[in-house]
């Protein structure tokens, strides 16, 4: 392939881009926190399919007749679908009344999808989610360490955390609701985005067998060659998963829209980090050792 882009030379820029986005998102985090959904702070979420176009105010007034004040209201499907979140559990009696009133006003087609979580149970879910992400990351790191040497494993782990944090940063910046499906999306991204990294590392390892590696330039060539040789695969695989993730995002069900969005961001970030972050980290580490080794030999 006649493609001579140097993936290694500009590593500072790649790290800077990632660093800035992550820093922005994570700076927002301690100030505003994440926009937690009912799964993580308790309360009730109602997905109301109205079947006709309504305004946000109209729906707020509608639920107000049942003494309900939503903490957030969001429209989807050109205003035919309303997502409301209440920090308190609305209870089954009020839900029943609301459903009846909704169908009386907007017809039988209108319906409500409810999700209620008890606050103490929500805490349990948060704990499990954090443990889950950690266990998955460690498990993957151990696997990569067994199959590759530890420098590959550490570089892969960093790029994996980069992807997970990218999704978190994006959701923190744009105040998008975070629920259990978000964690599922992050975990899937963690499991999947490492694929791309592994494919490139696999190639680096293979090329190392035949390459003479004496100077930093040799390593640069090795990494560049390996990325270029697998580039068609990296790009095409990324394209196909993005095709399906986009289909899910734009044509899929409203109730999992945030899940699809998290997945999309994670997949793009995963593609980016495996091309521009992971191998570069490995390269820097190896070259540093090379320099140290040399000075030791000279002195």
């Amino acid at each position: 392939m006649n493609f001579n882009f140097d993936f290694v030379k500009h590593w500072k820029w790649y790290f800077l881009v990632s660093g800035v986005i992550l820093a922005l998102g994570l700076a927002v985090l301690p100030i505003f926190g994440l926009n937690l959904g009912v799964d993580f702070q308790g309360g009730t979420r109602l997905d109301i399919h109205v079947g006709q176009v309504v305004s946000q105010q109209e729906m707020i007034d509608f639920v107000a007749q049942h003494d309900l004040v939503p903490n957030t209201t969001q429209l989807a499907s050109e205003g035919q679908y309303v997502i409301m979140r209440f920090n308190e559990e609305i209870g089954k009696e009020r839900l029943a009344a609301l459903r009846q009133a909704l169908q009386a006003k907007y017809g039988e087609e209108a319906n409500i999808q409810e999700s209620t979580v008890d606050p103490t149970f929500a805490k349990e879910l948060v704990r499990k989610a954090i443990i889950g992400v950690l266990v998955a990351s460690v498990g993957i790191a151990v696997y990569v360490m067994v199959r590759f040497e530890y420098r590959f494993a550490v570089a892969a782990l960093i790029s994996l955390l980069h992807d997970a944090l990218m999704v978190v940063a994006f959701f923190a910046l744009f105040r998008i609701e975070v629920d259990l499906t978000f964690i599922v999306a992050v975990l899937t991204v963690v499991g999947y985005s490492i694929n791309d990294t592994i494919v490139i590392f696999d190639r680096i390892r293979e090329n190392m067998k035949t390459a003479k590696l004496k100077t930093a330039d040799d390593f640069r060539r090795l990494v560049n060659d390996s990325i270029r040789q697998t580039l068609a695969r990296s790009v095409n695989t990324l394209l196909t998963v993005i095709f399906v993730a986009a289909a899910l995002l734009f044509f899929g069900p409203n109730s999992i829209r945030n899940f699809s969005l998290a997945m999309m961001i994670g997949l793009v970030s995963g593609g980016y980090s495996s091309l521009f972050i992971a191998s570069q980290l490995w390269y820097l580490w190896r070259v540093r050792r090379l320099r140290k080794g040399k000075t030791a030999a000279v002195s």
Binding site: I112, T116, G191, V199, R233, V241, L248, P253, M263
Partner: protein
């Protein structure tokens, strides 16, 4: 190499037959798949079981008894396939799909079980669950080896009075407003231990014993998590999910064909077979398809392509390196396999964690992801490889063009 017409024809016939078989059986496969309640409407509640009076403990027996009582109530509403799963130490997950009146069902489920012994004509309540010794009912065999239910009462004297009054008459045992059984009193029972005969088998006796125990130890059910989906909303989600899958799938198929040519066509055949087999597997293993499952399914489709892309790219490289097409196929598939395994095992690891973490629909996602990855490795590696070998042996597609390689890119060996 020449085109071998016989072999090519055979391959073609086999493929056409396989696809005809798949298309013919698809409606049957789809019909047999169990839809989760987020796709067909219904609700799911996670209850925390709490004793009504203090000092009581929630033991595994209490959970079993409570489930028996809940099942009984659900039968009254008439739900096709209710599911009850004990979770953790003191929780019960209830899943009711396709309930007509969700709000009523939920109201009914949440109340503690109320057990009463009543006069069959006047309806007067003679005894309540509180008069039974907790956990005192059991299914045993009498001396003729017939299954019976034995129950202990707290106050033997009170029971002796009642049975004395009702000799030769039935006493109705009600759970809520439902008559469970109406045994006829044979004699005055003084010892505080009664037996109920006429059980068809030991299973029936055990169920009755469970219900009596549930009535003797009423529990409060606190909703920890509730999810309800209207039937029309579930239907819409299903349609949108399937629609998204078809759009995403078609784009992927077109892309593969345009970019990879022969290996792309082969990949597409494998992908279609893979999709069919995955659906079949869902049906055979009774995996419940949830909304999250559809999402996993669609993503898995994108990931399954990866195995084909890896192989196709490897073959391209081998051809460019100057290998003949048959040996490029061999080397390319072999070298790609290691990478494919490495890449997929990590996703399986993550999915296993999701499975452990989640319950309900989240588990549906993890199950689908794991199943699809395992199946993907099988079909997209094995079928693709077989098909490529067969086409090349049949003498079709032996020019580098078919693999997306330009003649001038090929290096001499």
């Amino acid at each position: 190499m020449k085109v071998r017409a016989g072999r090519a024809l055979l391959l073609f016939v086999v493929l056409v037959a396989a696809f005809a078989g798949m298309i013919a059986t698809t409606p049957w496969v789809l019909d047999g798949i169990t839809l989760g309640l987020d796709l067909q409407g219904g609700f799911e509640i996670l209850y925390q079981v709490q004793p009504v009076s203090e000092g009581q403990e929630v033991t595994p027996e209490v959970i079993t008894q409570t489930i028996a009582a809940l099942e009984r109530r659900v039968n009254v509403i008439g739900v096709a396939e209710p599911n009850f799963f004990p979770e953790g130490r003191d929780r019960i997950r209830v899943q009711l799909a396709g309930v007509e009146d969700q709000d009523r069902a939920r109201e009914l489920l949440g109340r503690p079980a109320r057990l009463t012994f009543r006069d069959m004509t006047t309806g007067e309540v003679l005894l309540s669950g509180a008069d039974l010794v907790e956990g005192g009912a059991s299914a045993v065999f009498d001396k003729y080896n017939r299954p019976i239910v034995q129950l202990k009462l707290k106050d033997g004297g009170k029971f002796a009075d009642i049975t004395g009054r009702y000799i030769g008459q039935p006493i109705g045992i009600f759970l809520d407003e439902e008559l469970i059984t109406a045994p006829v009193v044979q004699q005055r029972i003084t010892g505080g231990i009664a037996t109920i005969e006429g059980q068809r088998d030991i299973a029936e006796a055990q169920e009755l014993a469970s219900l009596l125990n549930a009535g003797a130890l009423p529990v409060n059910l606190v909703e920890l998590q509730a999810q309800s989906v209207g039937a029309s909303l579930g239907q819409r989600s299903l349609e949108q999910g399937v629609w998204a899958g078809i759009i995403g799938g078609v784009v992927v198929l077109l892309f593969m064909l345009a970019y990879y040519r022969l290996p792309g066509l082969v990949a597409n055949i494998s992908l279609l077979v893979y999709t069919y087999l995955l659906l079949l597997l869902f049906q055979l293993l009774h995996v419940t398809l949830t909304l999250a499952g559809i999402a996993a399914f669609i993503l898995a489709l994108g990931m399954a392509v990866d195995a084909n892309i890896l192989t196709a790219e490897r073959i391209k490289e081998e051809i460019r390196a100057g290998k003949s097409i048959p040996s490029a196929l061999k080397a390319g598939s072999r070298r790609a396999l290691v990478t494919i395994l490495d890449a997929n095992i990590t996703t399986v690891l993550a999915a296993a964690v999701i499975y452990y973490l989640g319950s309900g629909s989240v588990r549906g996602f993890a199950t689908t992801l794991i199943l699809s990855i395992v199946l993907s490795i099988l079909t997209n590696v094995w079928i693709s490889r077989l098909l490529l070998q067969q086409t090349v042996q049949a003498g079709i597609g032996v020019k580098p063009w078919y693999f997306g390689v330009k003649e001038e890119e090929i290096r001499e060996l």
